[in-house]
Amino acid sequence: MGAQVKTIERKGSSLQERLYLPEIFKGMATTFGHLWRNLLDNRKLYVRHYPEVQPEIPVRWRGRHRLTTHEDQTVKCVACFMCQTNCPANCIMIEAGERLDGKAEKMPVKFNIDLLECIYCGYCVEACPVDAIRMDTGIFSVTDNNRESFVLGLEELLTTPGAFSEEEYKKGGA
């Protein structure tokens, strides 16, 4: 059993190609074509007019995190630390405590996500056994001028709403 060998023709050995300049001029003609087309009508640029025109965020887009809640606005998270365990960037820091409202035994007292360290891989969402953490806020741009404000706390994670309806989210493959 031999590996399939595909011989690829080596280009660039003809005289015209070896002279180099004609090929350079060809390339320059191509780029100039683009410049000229765009100069004549700048609507043809392949750009999004970003701050004014926002990108359309698909349901499966991994944006900033949020913590979901039960219907009565109490936190779904049971502080099982699965997300923290699974996080490859070590950006999740949880402190667990006793839960007394009967929904579960355990709940997070502190739930910090350091967005400066987060790599938005979505492993936390996959690891969560109770669908408590999601990345469906549609927030893709997080800016601030100090490091501390990039550490999201429990309050902020809980109050951020999801950008999609439950049906859309489920259909998106979650």
């Binding site: 502080a79 099982c80 630390f81 699965m82 365990t85 820091m93 035994e105 355990k106 056994p129």
Partner: protein, 520 residues
């Protein structure tokens, strides 16, 4: 040494120790037979049926391995189809009423039920009726929280209370799928070893109130250590973890098997003594009452030592042998009197003849071995004559009332080389922080004359020096661990022919070796 016999497991010949049951015998050579209710310290109960194996000698097709002694020539079947099926079926049975709340269960990660599910079951539940509702989060007392739903009714905890502590607080009530472990009404767990039921429980039914929700167990780093709570020197596992941006912190002590010393268990007081390693520590060097860089304080100590005509040294009975040797050498060099006076560490009548001892110091036997004077009269007269007292981690407030101590130390400057910020340390003129026993390596001799060595367990962010190192800084000539060990070899005959790393893991029984030396 027990006799060896040969038997066959899955057709492969293995050599095991005679006189044990199959689980222990085969387990010792690395072949695991799953079991929930059997525990070597508690004996076979045979209720969980997880250890059923086949033996090809005309017996019934399934026999419980925990109740079957290992015999020569036995042909044990572990991977036959009917054994696999019974293991799978037993797991399914155990899990019928199990709440599978692993996300909130502290046992997750060290849970036998989880392990066996992954190894033998891995199937979805076929239950289509509601699960039996039982008590959750029940306070059993003594820091034990019980969850009846998670319980697999193996009865280890019940047997522990009956056989080991002989207090019998726990019992199994009701029958079949309603069977549950409970206490008698108004009679909570009230023995001093109750914490062991948490370790014994193969699942998450028994959890510790103290450790509850503090950490997930897979984050914990495990370091072997020796408990310094009393003279028994129980072997422990130090479970510690350095969380992100935080210090390395001990979360719990668990017993570590040492047949010679403590067996499988430790007492509750020792279990909770980890807290003292985290809290109340002296972390900065002090000059008077002000925190100063340690080098400044050490320089001030050296000046004080030069100035003082007579110096007294006092040593904690918790120090390791190496530390004692280093301090002893320092005392010799300074011409100072070295005392090990620490009567306050002894609580008469507290011991129970099992693990807990009257003497709450880990290495009093070491003081004796090195010939350090421990009498009160000698200590007091030495202090009264001396201008300077260097206190190596001896909490004198245990031996004296604070007013008496102040009176005694009048006119004497005190350098406290201390791991903890005790009232006694606050009285000192100079204070130097040192590592505590989870942060240094050393060896101690327990009440039964068993010498055990232990390694450094964890490194704090602010990694403090060992008493040995401080003694060397103050002028002790024993600069290296080798020199310290050589001095120990002079004092302790059993160590003569041993290298420092050759001390057996189970500890070196000095009684035996001394007896051996005498006869030789």
């Amino acid at each position: 040494m027990a006799d060896k016999i040969k038997l066959f497991v899955n057709g492969v010949e293995v050599e095991v120790e005679a006189g044990k049951n199959l689980i222990d015998a085969v387990g010792a050579v690395g072949i695991e037979i799953p079991h929930l209710c059997y525990h070597p310290a508690l004996g076979a109960d045979g209720n969980c049926r997880m250890c059923l194996v086949g033996i090809e000698d005309g017996r019934p097709p399934l026999v419980p391995a925990c109740k079957t002694p290992a015999m020569a020539g036995m042909k044990v079947l572990l991977d036959a189809a009917h054994i696999k099926k019974i293991q799978h079926d037993v797991m399914e049975l155990e899990l019928i009423n199990h709440p599978t709340d692993c996300p909130v269960c502290d046992q997750a990660g060290e849970c036998k039920l989880q392990d066996y599910y992954m190894a033998f079951d891995q199937a979805e539940s076929r239950m289509n009726v509601p699960q039996v509702v039982k008590g959750k989060k029940m306070d059993f007392g003594a820091g034990v929280v019980h969850d009846q739903e998670r319980c697999v009714v193996c009865g280890r905890c019940v047997r522990f209370c009956r056989q080991i502590t002989k207090t019998g607080e726990l019992g199994i009530i009701n029958r079949t799928d309603d069977a549950r472990v409970n206490i008698f009404p108004g009679r909570p767990l009230s023995n001093r070893y109750a914490g062991n039921v948490v370790d014994l429980c193969p699942v998450g039914a028994m959890t510790s109130r103290d450790f509850r929700f503090k950490q997930r167990v897979w984050f914990l780093k495990k370091a072997p250590g020796i408990c310094h709570g009393c003279a028994k020197g129980c072997n422990i596992t130090i479970d510690h973890n350095r969380e992100k941006y935080k210090d390395d912190i001990i979360y719990r002590f668990r017993p570590r098997l040492n047949e010679q010393v403590n067996g499988y268990f430790i007492c509750d007081a020792g279990r909770l003594s980890y807290k003292a390693e985290n809290e109340g520590r002296l972390t900065e060097a002090r000059l008077g009452n002000k925190a100063r860089p340690i080098d400044d304080v050490l320089a001030a100590c050296t000046r004080e030592i030069e100035r003082a005509e007579k110096i007294a040294l006092v040593l904690s009975p918790n120090c390791s042998l190496e530390q004692m040797a280093a301090v002893q050498a320092l005392a010799e060099k300074l011409g100072a009197f070295l005392s090990g006076y620490s009567d306050g560490y002894i609580k008469p009548g507290d011991g129970d003849g099992y693990l807990i001892q009257d003497d709450k110091a880990a290495n009093r036997a070491g003081l004796g071995l090195l010939g350090i004077d421990c009498s009160r009269e000698a200590f007091e007269s030495a202090v009264q004559q001396a201008q300077l007292l260097i206190n190596f981690n001896n909490d004198l407030t245990r031996s004296y009332k604070e007013s008496d101590l102040k009176k005694l130390l009048q006119g004497t400057k005190v350098i406290a080389v201390s791991s903890h910020d005790t009232p006694g340390t606050a009285l000192a003129d100079l204070a130097i922080p040192v590592a505590s026993y989870s942060e240094y390596a050393g060896s101690v001799v327990n009440c039964d004359n068993i010498l055990q060595s232990f390694a450094k367990g964890l490194s704090k962010n602010n990694d403090l020096a060992d008493i040995c190192a401080i003694a060397v800084q103050l002028g002790s000539p024993l600069g290296s661990p080798k020199e310290r060990f050589a001095l120990l070899q002079q004092s302790i005959s059993a160590l003569k022919d041993l290298e420092p790393d050759k001390i057996p893991a189970q500890g070196l029984n000095l009684n035996d070796s001394e007896a051996a030396n005498v006869t030789a």
